[in-house]
């Protein structure tokens, strides 16, 4: 039949013959689809975090009480350091998009410079996250855990939290760390906290201006403070052990789940950043070697750029849900 349209072979080869479906190259489209699926993974993690937070709505730690450290400076500065981290990541996103733009203009020198700056930004971010983890794991003040697993913070009369080492009074104790060489060779335990619960309790009784801050949030968004007599009763009837720092089992800032999610989600994000840095370094050297100059297109920079921006995008959400909300 003459009316049947005969397709030429070039039209059938969608990506091979010069046409591009949706005007996007194959590699870029697949990077976008990967990003969509990775976004779903992160959404799953953050939604799980939201689940636990809704579940323990009245006892979840307040981020402003947890992340208060700034390197080289002593004192209580919530938000400042993480705002710096956010800014670093946005800045490295900007240098990345400038590198992509320079690639469009086939300007090798500028692509090199901007890729280099992007890598530096990524390294600063990962370093900052390492600092954040270190201070979180080490802990600041120490706390008392109750038999039910709640965390009690010790506060002074001005409403500042007090470190256990500042008031605990040494007591006789037979409790020693169990090591495998002193008992059953197949059991051992982690280092004991610096103070026993009895030492903290004795110190608390000796300082009449100390009170307890409970794990429960009041209507005004702050944790409930107890009076002196309530504090004493709370410690004597419910107190069980001392918690210092945070790990997967216990967390001096509040619910252990908070620490678990913090390690898991920021860890997974940090892993993405590290992979991004690695990819950026590979692309950086390819640019230096002139690979894309010879290929006639800097599209690889664009594809890696998409991944790098995605990492920034995820951090924007992590920042909101861990530090702000």
């Amino acid at each position: 039949m003459d009316t049947t349209v005969v397709k030429t072979s070039a039209e059938n080869k969608r990506w091979g013959g010069g046409t591009e479906p949706l005007k996007t190259s194959y590699g870029k489209m697949m990077m976008w689809f990967f990003i969509t699926s990775d976004a779903l993974t992160f959404a799953g993690f953050l939604a799980a975090y939201g689940f636990s937070r809704f579940k323990f709505a009245d006892s979840w730690p307040i981020a402003d009480n947890v992340f208060t450290h700034v390197p080289f400076i002593h004192g209580n500065y919530p938000m400042i350091f993480v705002a710096f981290m956010t800014f670093i990541l946005i800045m490295s996103s900007v240098t990345m998009v400038l590198a992509v733009d320079a690639g469009h203009h086939k300007n090798k020198a500028k692509v090199t410079l901007y890729m280099f700056l992007t890598i530096i930004g990524g390294l600063v971010f990962v370093g900052s996250q390492a600092y954040e983890w270190t201070t979180f794991i080490k802990g600041t003040y120490g706390a008392v855990a109750t038999k039910g697993g709640n965390i009690l913070h010790i506060m002074d009369a001005d409403g500042h939290q007090v470190a256990l080492k500042d008031f605990a009074i040494a007591q006789d104790s037979d409790r020693e760390r169990h090591e495998s060489r002193t008992g059953l060779w197949f059991t051992s335990e982690k280092a004991l906290p610096s103070y026993t619960f009895d030492e903290v309790l004795a110190g608390f009784k000796a300082n009449p201006d100390l009170v307890v801050r409970t794990t429960y949030t009041a209507g005004d968004g702050h944790k409930t403070m107890l009076s002196r007599s309530e504090s004493l009763r709370e410690l004597e009837t419910k107190g069980k052990n001392v918690v210092e720092g945070a790990n997967l089992r216990q967390n001096e800032y509040g619910s252990p789940l908070f620490a678990n999610y913090f390690f898991f989600i920021t860890g997974f994000h940090g892993f993405h950043v590290s992979i991004g840095i690695l990819l950026n370094i590979i692309i950086f050297f390819n640019v230096l070697l002139g690979t894309y100059e010879r290929r006639g297109s800097y599209e690889m920079v664009e594809k890696v750029g998409l991944y790098w921006h995605f990492v920034d995008l995820v951090w924007v959400f992590v920042f909101t849900f861990f530090y702000l909300v």
């Binding site: 799953g44 636990s52 909300v325």
Partner: protein, 127 residues
């Protein structure tokens, strides 16, 4: 993509840039302002935003909306979604938005229910 194929207007044409590089710096300034607002609100937590709106503090809604605004500009201008074909853009964005909204709805609903069991049921946690 040709070097000059970028759409250079943001805010629905309110601000137009002369070149793509200029647009990048413009968007950076915008994102920095939003981050600064978030950080200031996060540090001072003004009392007036403590009111409950749709089951959450008004302040939390402000944070979430500002975050989505930031995500929009990162995706549209840094990842050049603005320059892609509408069909491709919808394929990527709507899929994610639909699935993530559904996931969040169903999981937070369940979280709220479990919380009510803890609060109203015979479960003792404070001892």
């Amino acid at each position: 993509m040709a070097a000059d194929a970028h759409k250079l207007a943001i805010f629905r044409g309110l601000v137009k840039f002369k070149s793509n590089t200029q647009k990048i710096w413009g968007v950076l300034i915008f994102l920095s302002i939003i981050t600064a607002i978030e950080v200031l609100l996060g540090i001072y937590k003004p009392e007036i935003f403590n009111a409950q709106v749709l089951g959450m503090k008004a302040l939390n809604w402000i944070f979430i909306i500002l975050t989505i605004v930031k995500a929009y500009y990162i995706t549209w201008d840094f990842m050049h979604m603005r320059d892609e074909m509408a069909s491709f853009r919808r394929m990527v964005v709507w899929t994610g938005v639909f699935l993530i909204s559904y996931l969040i709805f169903i999981i937070l609903q369940e979280g709220g229910y479990v919380e009510s069991v803890f609060a109203n049921g015979f479960v003792k946690t404070d001892f």
